[in-house]
C-alpha cells in the first residue's frame, strides 16, 4: 500500500513555494520513509526544471533573435566560435539572473489597490462580489457572497481562512473579516496574532490559534480547537457583557434572544479547517497497514472521487440548482463526501470494478447520518444485477448489508436498531468464504453462513446512491476501504480503538 497519489498534491505546494510548515513535515516524513515516492518527487522536480528551460525563451524572442542574427556579418571561424560560446554563457547567466528576480507570485508579489487577501484555493466555488460573479484571485474591501463550494483565503501574517458556502462576508482589512452568515475557520500563526472575525453578535480576536465561527440566523458560535481567542459579545439587552477568553476545546454560543453567552461542546466534526487530507496519522497508517485493494480517503478534489491506487478513481455527482452547501464536509479523518443533507452532493460512481481474488472480502466505511434516510445507500455495486455487495439502511433506517455469492445466492444481515444520527459510525463487513459478518463500531451486529462472494462482479460501484439515482444517503461518507481478505478480530478492535480517538485528534498524531 502506498499513499503517493494523494501526497503528490504536496509536490505542487512545494514547487510553488506555498507549502506550509505542517505540510512540509508531512511530505518530509513520507519522502524519508518511501523510496518510490522519493523517486517520483525527484522526477517531478526534474520535470519542473525542464519545463522552466523550455519556457525560458519564448517563441517571439526566438523570432526576434533570428531576425537580428540574419543581419550580422559572419565572422572568421575562430572568432565566431568564441562569440557563440560567450553568447551562450551570457544567455545562461542572464537567464539565471532573470530567474532570480522572477517572482513566483502567490508568495511574494505585492497586493495591488485595496486587495486584502488572496484566494489560495477553491473547490466548486461560486463567489459573488457586490452581487456580481467574481473569478479574481484576490479579495478586496467589498461585500462577498459564497454561493457554492469552499474557498481558502490567506490574510496578512499567513492567516489561513476557510469559508464554506453558503456564506456572506466582507473583507474589512488584511487583518479583519466581517462574517454576516455562514461558517468560517481560521488558522492563525504567530505573525497573524490579532486577526479578527466580526459577527453580528461578537467580535472575535485571535491570539494565535485555530478556531471556527458559525453565524446562523439568530446566533453566533465560536469553537476553539487550539490556542486562545478573546470574544467581545455584542448582545442586545446586555451592553455590559465582559469579554470571554476561550481556550483549546472550548466553545460558546451567543444567542440574540438571550442576554448571556452560553458555553457549549466544541464541534470537532462540523468545520472544514484545512483542504489537505492527512496521510501520516494513526488512522491512515492503520488502514494502509491492511493493504487495501482500494482506499477512498475522500480528499477535497474537484469532481473526483479519489482512490489509492488511482485505477479505481471515480467521479462525483452533483444536483443542479439545488442547495448550495459543498459536497465536501469535515470527515472522520480530513474531509468526507457529503450526500444531500443540505448540499448539492448526489454521491459518486466508480466505473472500474474493484477486483477481488482471494474469495474473502473486508469492507470498511465510516458514515455520519445527518437526517433519517430509509433505504439510504452507503455503497453498492448492485448485487441484484450481478454485483456483489450493498451496504446501507433498510426501509426503517437500520444498518443492512446484502450480498450475492458466486453461486448466485443472495443473503443479507440487518441491524434491528436504527443507525444513530449525527455521529460517526464505523461499519465493517467481513466475508471469509464461509460466513458473512457485519460490525458497527467494533460490535458484531450479526452473522450468517455465506459462501464466496461474487468475484466476477463487473458492475459500477456507487457511493451514497443506487445506480438508478434513488436510495440517496443523507450525510457523510469517509475512509472507505476494500481489503482482499478477512481481517482479524484484533484488527477490528484496533480499527475501532483508533476510530474512537478520531476526528481532529487524527490531524495531529504523528
Amino acid at each position: 500500500m502506498n499513499n503517493k497519489p494523494d501526497i503528490t498534491a504536496l509536490f505542487a505546494e512545494y514547487v510553488s513555494g506555498t507549502i506550509t510548515d505542517v505540510q512540509l513535515r508531512e511530505l518530509e516524513i513520507s519522502l524519508t520513509q518511501d523510496a518510490e515516492l522519493r523517486s517520483r518527487f525527484i522526477k517531478y522536480l526534474n520535470l519542473d526544471s525542464a519545463l522552466s528551460d523550455h519556457a525560458a525563451l519564448s517563441s517571439s524572442e526566438v523570432a526576434e533573435i533570428e531576425s537580428c542574427t540574419q543581419q550580422l556579418t559572419p565572422l572568421p571561424a575562430r572568432q565566431s566560435r568564441m562569440r557563440i560560446n560567450a553568447l551562450t554563457f551570457a544567455t545562461a547567466v542572464a537567464a539565471a539572473i532573470v530567474l532570480a528576480f522572477f517572482l513566483w507570485p502567490t508568495g511574494s508579489s505585492p497586493s495591488q489597490g485595496q486587495a486584502v487577501a488572496t484566494i489560495v484555493a477553491d473547490v466548486d466555488a461560486v463567489l459573488h462580489k457586490s452581487g456580481q460573479p467574481d473569478s479574481g484571485s484576490e479579495l478586496f474591501t467589498d461585500e462577498y457572497t459564497l454561493e457554492e463550494g469552499l474557498i481558502n483565503l490567506e490574510f496578512a501574517g499567513g492567516v489561513m481562512v476557510y469559508i464554506e458556502a453558503p456564506a456572506r462576508f466582507k473583507a474589512a482589512s488584511d487583518k479583519k473579516i466581517l462574517l454576516h452568515s455562514g461558517q468560517l475557520s481560521a488558522s492563525v500563526p504567530q505573525a497573524g496574532i490579532g486577526f479578527t472575525v466580526e459577527t453580528p453578535d461578537a467580535e472575535v480576536v485571535d491570539f494565535g490559534t485555530e478556531f471556527s465561527v458559525d453565524v446562523g440566523s439568530g446566533a453566533s458560535e465560536v469553537h476553539v480547537f487550539d490556542g486562545l481567542v478573546r470574544i467581545a459579545p455584542r448582545l442586545a439587552g446586555n451592553e455590559n457583557t465582559e469579554s470571554i477568553d476561550l481556550r483549546t476545546d472550548q466553545a460558546v454560543r451567543l444567542d440574540r434572544q438571550h442576554p448571556d453567552p452560553v458555553m457549549i461542546d466544541v464541534a470537532t466534526d462540523r468545520f472544514i479547517r484545512n483542504f489537505d487530507e492527512p496521510h501520516t496519522n494513526r488512522f491512515q497508517r492503520m488502514i494502509q497497514s491492511m493493504s487495501p485493494v482500494a482506499h477512498y480517503g475522500m480528499p477535497i478534489q474537484k469532481d473526483s472521487l479519489a482512490c489509492d491506487p488511482p485505477d479505481y478513481e471515480g467521479k462525483l455527482i452533483r444536483a443542479q440548482g439545488a442547495s448550495k452547501q459543498s459536497r465536501r464536509a469535515k470527515g472522520i479523518s480530513g474531509s468526507s463526501l457529503r450526500v444531500q443533507a443540505g448540499s448539492n452532493g448526489m454521491g459518486g460512481v466508480v466505473d472500474t470494478p474493484i477486483p477481488l481474488y482471494s474469495g474473502e472480502l473486508t469492507l470498511i466505511a465510516h458514515v455520519y447520518l445527518e437526517n433519517q434516510a430509509p433505504n439510504g445507500t452507503i455503497i453498492t455495486d448492485t448485487p441484484e444485477q450481478g454485483g456483489r455487495i450493498m451496504l446501507g439502511l433498510d426501509e426503517v433506517g437500520g444498518l443492512t448489508v446484502a450480498v450475492q455469492t458466486e453461486t448466485g445466492q443472495r443473503l443479507s444481515i440487518t441491524q434491528s436498531t436504527l443507525l444513530p444520527l449525527q455521529t460517526w459510525v464505523q461499519v465493517i463487513v467481513i466475508s471469509d468464504g464461509e460466513k458473512l459478518r457485519l460490525y458497527s463500531d467494533g460490535q458484531l451486529v450479526g452473522h450468517i453462513k455465506c459462501g464466496v462472494l461474487n468475484r466476477a462482479a463487473a458492475t459500477p460501484l456507487w457511493f451514497g446512491t443506487r445506480a438508478d439515482g434513488e436510495g440517496l444517503w443523507s450525510g457523510r461518507i469517509d475512509e472507505v476501504a476494500f481489503i482482499d481478505r478477512a481481517i482479524t478480530k484484533a484488527e477490528i478492535e484496533k480499527l475501532h480503538e483508533v476510530a474512537v480517538k478520531r476526528q481532529d485528534k487524527f490531524e495531529d498524531q504523528p
Binding site: 509536490f11 519545463l51 532573470v98 502567490t106
Partner: protein, 177 residues
C-alpha cells in the same frame, strides 16, 4: 585577458554550457522553488569559474561540478533553514545521492519532455509554458484561463502528472524504463 586566460575561459565556457542544464536540474531537485534554484546557480557558476584552474582534467568537469553544486545547494539550504521551511539535511542528502544515481535517466526524461509537450493540445501547452515564463504573473495567467490562482495551481499540477505519465510511456517504449 591574455591568450592563456582566454584559452582557459573558452574551455570553461565550453564545459559549463555543456553541463549547465543538468546542473540546474540537479540543484532544482534540492531546493524548494525555481527562484531558489536560479539563486543557487548564480553562486555555483561563480565558484566553478573561480576554482576552474584547480580541476585536474576537463573530462572530470561534470563530476566536479556536481560536487560543487551539491555543496553550494546544501550550504544555501542551511542558511535558509533559519528563516524558511526547508527539508532536514538527512533527507536532502538522500535526495542528492539518489538524484546523482538517477541522473542519466533524468536527462532522458528531460529529452522526452519535448515530444510529450508536442502531443499536448496547443492551448494547454501554451498555458503550461506561460506559467514558467520569466516575468509572467500566475494571477494574470490564471485569470486569463478563467481560473482562480488556487485552481490554476491544481490544474498545473495535473498537467505535470500527465506529462510525467507521457514521459514514462515514451521511455518505456524506447526501452529506457
Amino acid at each position: 585577458m591574455h591568450s592563456d586566460g582566454r584559452e582557459m575561459y573558452e574551455l570553461f565556457l565550453g564545459q559549463f554550457t555543456a553541463h549547465e542544464a543538468s546542473l540546474r536540474a540537479y540543484v532544482r531537485r534540492l531546493v524548494p522553488t525555481r527562484n531558489d534554484a536560479a539563486d543557487v546557480m548564480q553562486g555555483i557558476a561563480l565558484v566553478l569559474w573561480k576554482k576552474f584552474d584547480q580541476l585536474d582534467h576537463p573530462s572530470n568537469f561534470r563530476q566536479w561540478a556536481f560536487g560543487v553544486a551539491r555543496y553550494e545547494a546544501l550550504a544555501w539550504l542551511r542558511d535558509k533553514a533559519r528563516e524558511r521551511h526547508v527539508f532536514g539535511q538527512d533527507l536532502l542528502n538522500t535526495i542528492a545521492q539518489e538524484s546523482e544515481r538517477l541522473d542519466e535517466r533524468l536527462e532522458a526524461q528531460r529529452e522526452a519532455l519535448e515530444d510529450c509537450l508536442s502531443k499536448m493540445p496547443a492551448d494547454q501547452r501554451k498555458l503550461v509554458l506561460s506559467a514558467y515564463m520569466p516575468g509572467e504573473q500566475i494571477k494574470d495567467i490564471a485569470s486569463q484561463s478563467g481560473r482562480s490562482v488556487g485552481g490554476f495551481y491544481q490544474w498545473l499540477h495535473r498537467m505535470r502528472l500527465s506529462l510525467l505519465a507521457c514521459i514514462e510511456r515514451s521511455m518505456a517504449s524506447e526501452g529506457l524504463a
